[in-house]
């Protein structure tokens, strides 16, 4: 056990929680209309509560517990039985098992929270609760198991995902797209502009995400060591490059550099470097950031409009697209000197192929399971709010609250 490593992982754990609340709550909250901001905030807040309990009761055992043929964890660790202050040999040899479990809990929390962006402003709160519980059980836990469990089958093939490009961002981003399509467009979408109601909230939330992401990426080293520092440098390089790229591209394409563009570009860079930050050089990280910034812009500003689905806050366009790109980028840019793995540019074709397999498996799995879960929950209680409630707004109809008073 090492006190420095433990201190860093505990700190990083708190930083990752900061990403969901208040980071994501404000990032998404600012992007919706005044009548729906509280619905976003409560969804982000309640995800923290529901998934924390789910994780300690069963989720952690399914994801990281002793493996059944590399597919899923058994139930030995339910209720955190056998998880304690002593380190576990496979999950951070120098930190308490409790610290690893807590760090991973924050990842399990933010992943379903990211999907809120796709179904914002139109999903029933009750349906949301049931859906995320099911999703955490049959999508997140298995995927985390396959990639990160010591005996997971995808990890066993050599698939690399340093901090969750696949497990967190592709799983949530792809599921988000499925949800946005199945749920249908918001009323009035395409006919009337739907403007963000408070962009300063979005900038605040986006900036908190950036800060918290150092816990996410550098914390994934599970030690206060050189690899953590490398991940931190890569994270900063990619994020700065992606934000700047988005702004420059839209300035050229639309005539104005926007603050929403800068923040969105930054998130695109953070997502793309997440799987790669433990395997690439700072200069490669810059390249990954630039390419991700441009790619996410293309997905959100050009392609989404042509396809016509209503991914309200671009959960797919940023997390799905950036996550897939970053996962493939590991297979291209990984370098022996930075984390001991190699990619295409170092002549390793096999790694690139394995990363491709990782993407295909995660995308197919997320699509299939989200489709099935949607059908189940929709059949039981209905996913979408009634039309009149959508018009009045979710804050008043789901929560019986208003964010802003007009008259005292």
């Amino acid at each position: 056990m090492n006190s420095g490593d433990t201190a860093w992982v505990l700190t990083a754990t708190a930083l990752v929680l900061l990403m969901t609340i208040p980071g994501l709550a404000f990032f998404y909250g600012g992007l919706v209309r005044r009548k729906n901001v509280l619905s976003i905030m409560i969804q982000c807040f309640i995800v923290v509560c529901v998934i924390s309990l789910h994780w300690m009761l069963i989720g952690y055992s399914l994801a990281f517990g002793p493996s059944i043929s590399g597919i899923i964890g058994n139930l030995d660790w339910i209720g955190l039985t056998g998880v304690g202050a002593e380190p576990h040999s496979a999950y951070g040899k120098t930190i308490p098992h409790f610290a690893f479990m807590s760090f991973q809990m924050m990842f399990a929390i933010i992943t379903p929270a990211l999907m809120i962006g796709a179904f914002a402003e139109r999903m029933k709160f009750s349906a949301f609760l049931i859906f995320i519980l099911l999703w955490a059980t049959v999508v997140y836990a298995p995927l985390a198991h396959w990639v990160w469990n010591a005996d997971g089958w995808l990890g066993g093939l050599g698939a690399l995902d340093f901090a969750g490009g696949i497990v967190v961002h592709v799983s949530s981003g792809i599921s988000a797209l499925v949800l946005a399509i199945m749920l249908g467009k918001r009323l009035g979408y395409n006919h009337r502009p739907i403007r963000p109601h408070n962009l300063p909230f979005t900038v605040l939330g986006g900036a908190l995400l950036w800060v918290g992401w150092f816990g996410f990426n550098a914390g994934s080293s599970l030690a206060a060591d050189g690899l953590a520092a490398q991940a931190m440098v890569a994270t900063q390089a990619a994020t700065a490059a992606a934000a700047l790229t988005w702004v420059l591209v839209e300035w050229w394409h639309n005539g104005s550099p926007t603050v929403l563009g800068a923040v969105t570009g930054a998130i695109g860079g953070l997502v793309a470097i997440t799987p790669a930050c433990g395997f690439v050089s700072p200069m490669s990280a810059m390249m990954i950031g630039m390419m991700s910034g441009a790619l996410c812009y293309l997905a959100v500003a050009v392609i989404k409009g042509k396809l016509g689905y209503d991914d309200s806050l671009d959960a797919f366009g940023v997390h799905g697209v950036g996550g897939i790109f970053g996962t493939m980028a590991v297979g291209v840019f990984a370098q022996e000197a930075y984390g001991g793995k190699t990619g295409l540019l170092s002549g390793n074709v096999e790694q690139f192929a394995v990363q491709g397999l990782l993407v295909v498996v995660a995308v197919a799995f997320a699509i299939a399971m989200t489709f099935i879960l949607y059908k189940i929950v929709d059949a039981i209680i209905g996913m979408r709010v009634e039309e009149k409630n959508e018009i009045v707004g979710l804050d008043l109809t789901q929560q019986s609250e208003s964010a802003y008073t007009v008259i005292e």
Binding site: P193, E250, N254, T264, V300, V302
Partner: protein, 113 residues
């Protein structure tokens, strides 16, 4: 009695207020409003989606005056808000049927000033 309604540029409120006070018109109601005139609003861009027709911020003044103050009020607003470009705003004058001061119950012309 007349009701003078003026729609002006928000940044001209201070100078209009000063001109009105100079002609002894001190009572007014001020509200933030949105609108568009000949300049047709603005285009906003969110994540690459252009949204034309965004309305511009304006300030509206509602001022009730007796007949003798109508022209000085119009002149003061004009002086304070005029720049000569589109978007300076408009002044509307309409007949006012009645005025009641709630604190004293006074009515008509004496209740206005």
């Amino acid at each position: 009695m007349k009701l003078v309604i003026a729609i002006i540029q928000p940044h001209k409120l201070e100078s209009v207020k000063k001109e009105l006070e100079a002609v002894d018109v001190n009572l007014m109601t001020v509200t933030n409003v949105l609108g568009q005139g000949r300049q047709k609003g603005v285009t906003e861009i969110y994540r690459g989606a252009k949204e034309a027709g965004g309305l511009l911020n304006k300030v509206r003044l509602d001022i009730a005056v007796n007949e003798a103050f109508v022209e000085p009020t119009i002149a003061a607003i004009n002086k304070g808000a005029h720049t000569g470009s589109v978007g300076d705003g408009k002044i509307f004058v309409i007949e006012l049927a009645e005025c009641v001061r709630i604190s004293s119950g006074e009515r008509g012309g004496t209740a206005i000033g």
